[in-house]
């Protein structure tokens, strides 16, 4: 148990006048909060009765009766509000995950580019960061939606990328993966490889601790195992997964996976906006590692690559991870801007359409807020655990 050195000294509990006053104050605060809560609930109850609004979660089983433009799980208008909730939640998680992946990749690239010895590239990255961070996110999402995607050609003049990827005014069209016989074996091989890699890494770590030196490139072997085993199985079984591209059929594409323009605009806006913040976090993290650290590593005889890998990056990550966590949480929360361009995320379909149809504001808004709160708290918990592993030892 450690105590926070900067906190003002806690008053020791005695039955002194101060202690009595503190107890009285706290009882007063509890009473005031309880009274306020009671009066609010009471008012709400009578208001709901006056306006004939039902309360409770009975509406969950009722038929929603509206369509949703994009859904990860099967849904049609005859499904219930409970299903709508799941559709919205899945869409929110999809957008957040895509946004986090792209923002991290772009953010790390730009952050490293800002430290590049090439003056021009560093300046260009700096300009990008300023624009990404100083324009409101909603402005950027609307820009992507109305200006960039709005000026795309129709399906017959689609922009085409390799592997059967098309971009047009109807959205982004990706090839459809079709599973063949034996795909299950590839998945099994992947699982076995991950397990083997974990065992190998633990064994190599124990061996290093026992012998005091590294004798195996365990990380590289593990990586080769995790990537190689499923791929080898995949080839051995005769490639049991085909990517079937969509075909232009008259005025529109058939087959393939279509991502609606709203999804593309939202992910693009979220990624480009957040990448600006991630870039600054990465830059600050790398710069926070004292030059003396890499000089000391060099004088110990470490080569530049190992210096980066063993000395600089572990220390930079300590500075990078906590603010990066906040950015990831922001992506999840900001995905709610989907509402502004009509992408059916949790807020749009549940706190928007479902709320308008049922009028059950209290239940629906409380549930929506609870979902985001739960995601935030769980992520914060996971990242704090990870952060604790990175934290300096023995200081």
């Amino acid at each position: 148990m450690t105590t926070d050195p900067d906190r003002p000294p806690a008053r020791r509990f005695r039955l002194s006048p101060q202690a009595l006053r503190a107890a009285a104050l706290q009882i007063l605060v509890v009473a005031a909060v309880a009274a306020l809560a009671w009066s609010l609930i009471d008012t709400a109850r009578s208001n709901l009765a006056d306006q004939h609004i039902a309360s409770g979660f009975g509406f969950f089983a009722a038929t929603a009766g509206f369509d949703v433009s994009q859904s990860l799980i099967d849904y049609d208008r005859a499904d219930s509000y409970g299903r709508v909730f799941l559709v919205g939640l899945a869409n929110t998680l999809l957008v957040s995950a895509l946004g986090i992946v792209f923002a991290t990749a772009l953010g790390f690239a730009v952050g490293i580019a800002r430290l590049s010895p090439s003056w021009m590239l560093a300046r260009l990255a700096g300009v990008y960061v300023e624009f990404a961070r100083n324009l409101p996110l909603l402005f950027q999402i609307l820009f992507w939606y109305m200006v960039v995607l709005g000026s795309l050609p129709g399906p017959r003049h689609s922009l085409e990328a390799p592997l059967g990827i098309f971009l047009n005014s109807r959205g982004l069209i990706l090839p459809q993966p079709v599973a063949g016989d034996g795909l299950w074996w590839v998945a099994a091989a992947a699982g076995a490889a991950v397990l083997a890699a974990i065992v190998l890494l633990a064994w190599a770590r124990a061996r290093q601790a026992r012998r005091g030196r590294r004798s195996l490139p365990a990380g590289r072997v593990a990586l080769a195992l995790v990537l190689g085993a499923p791929f080898a199985t995949f080839l051995a079984l005769g490639r049991p997964l085909a990517l079937v591209p969509a075909e232009l059929d008259g005025f529109n594409f058939t087959g393939g996976i279509r991502l609606v323009p709203e999804l593309v605009a939202l992910v693009a806006g979220l990624s480009f906006y957040t990448a600006g913040f991630v870039a600054e976090i990465v830059r600050a993290g790398i710069q926070s590692v004292d030059r003396g650290q890499s000089e000391a590593a060099a004088s110990l005889g470490l080569r530049p690559g190992r210096t980066l890998h063993l000395v600089v990056i572990p220390q930079a990550m300590r500075v990078i991870v906590p603010p990066l966590t906040s950015q990831y949480l922001n992506v999840v929360k900001n995905s709610s801007l989907a509402m502004a361009i009509g992408f059916p995320d949790l807020v749009a379909v549940f706190a928007g359409t479902a709320l308008n149809q049922t009028g059950q504001a209290i239940e629906i808004i409380a549930m929506t807020m609870a979902v985001y709160l739960a995601i935030s708290l769980l992520t914060a918990l996971a990242m704090n655990l990870y952060n604790r592993r990175l934290a300096p030892v023995g200081r």
Partner: protein, 377 residues
Amino acid sequence: MDKHAFVLTALKPALPPPRAASGPLKWLRARLFAGPVSTVLTLVSLAVLWLIVPPLLDFLVFDAVWRGSGREACLAETVGRPVGACWPFIWAKLGQLTYGFYPADERWRVNLVFAAAVALLVPLLIPSAPFKRLNAALFFVAFPLAAFALLVGGRFGLAYVETRAWGGLLVTLVVAVTGIVASLPLGILLALGRRSSLPVVRWLAVAVIEVWRGVPLITVLFFATYMLPLFLPGSWTIDALLRVLIGVAVFAAAYMAEVVRGGLQGVPRAQYEGAIALGLGHWQTMVLVVLPQALKLVIPGIVNTFIGLFKDTTLVMIVAIFDLLGQLRAAFADPAWASPSTLYTGFAFAGLIYFSFCFGMSRYALFIERRLDGGRR
């Protein structure tokens, strides 16, 4: 003797001076063409610039249309050349973008408020300007009250203007300034609550801060718009804008509380002990000794929260309050100005406004940070 020893028997000739120790050529070689990788990166960067800058300048300046009174002025057929930005569209909509539907005859009141804000804010931001205390009191207390009275009207012979008629930049600034002015004291209270030695107070503060920080602003706005009215007695009706202002203020206060908490943690423990040794009570210690130091430590964080708040004001559009971005979207729907470049022009204009506000604030935060840093060393 060691036969491997090697000693010069004569002086070596001096090396010639380096061709360029400084100067533009040396700079170019060191910064742009230091090696093959660096050269490639520089060339790629130049190509990117070439792809972006000239078309942007063409659009904004060289191909732009500057005069006209309708969509015809901005059509390529009328002008007879490719058309860039359609600036007459912005001139025509400038009133709507600035004031929303605030009655034209009453717009002087908005202008007066804008002018007063600038007159009070500029000296407040210049560190060497005198009368800081009076200035701050005027800006943070007197100005909001006066601005409220002026904008709403209905008293002192001013016509009443309902907030539904407000819009554009006016609403953007009202939401931002209210959020800023209200979130600072609220945030300080929450931060002090979070560090209180009374467990009940501490847990309440933690709960309030974490709940509002853990949810998106949109759900807070929904909460304020749809859920809050249900909790108030039927006879009370709160203005739609006011509800949004309350939501924004509480939301911003939760973020501000964490910034202030950082500052409180940065004040050395000896400062608390010194204040207690002088016989100061809890509140005296906080107000006279700790808070002034804590707030000074986190001025950059506070300004960053303000920037975030300013950008977040755009979200009020989602609960049907038309700020600058909302009015811009409404202006696009006007058939009298429908032309291929209207959309691009509108986004360029709004982008310039948002960027100059936010960039200005972030540069100011940097300036203050350097200044305070210098004082500490």
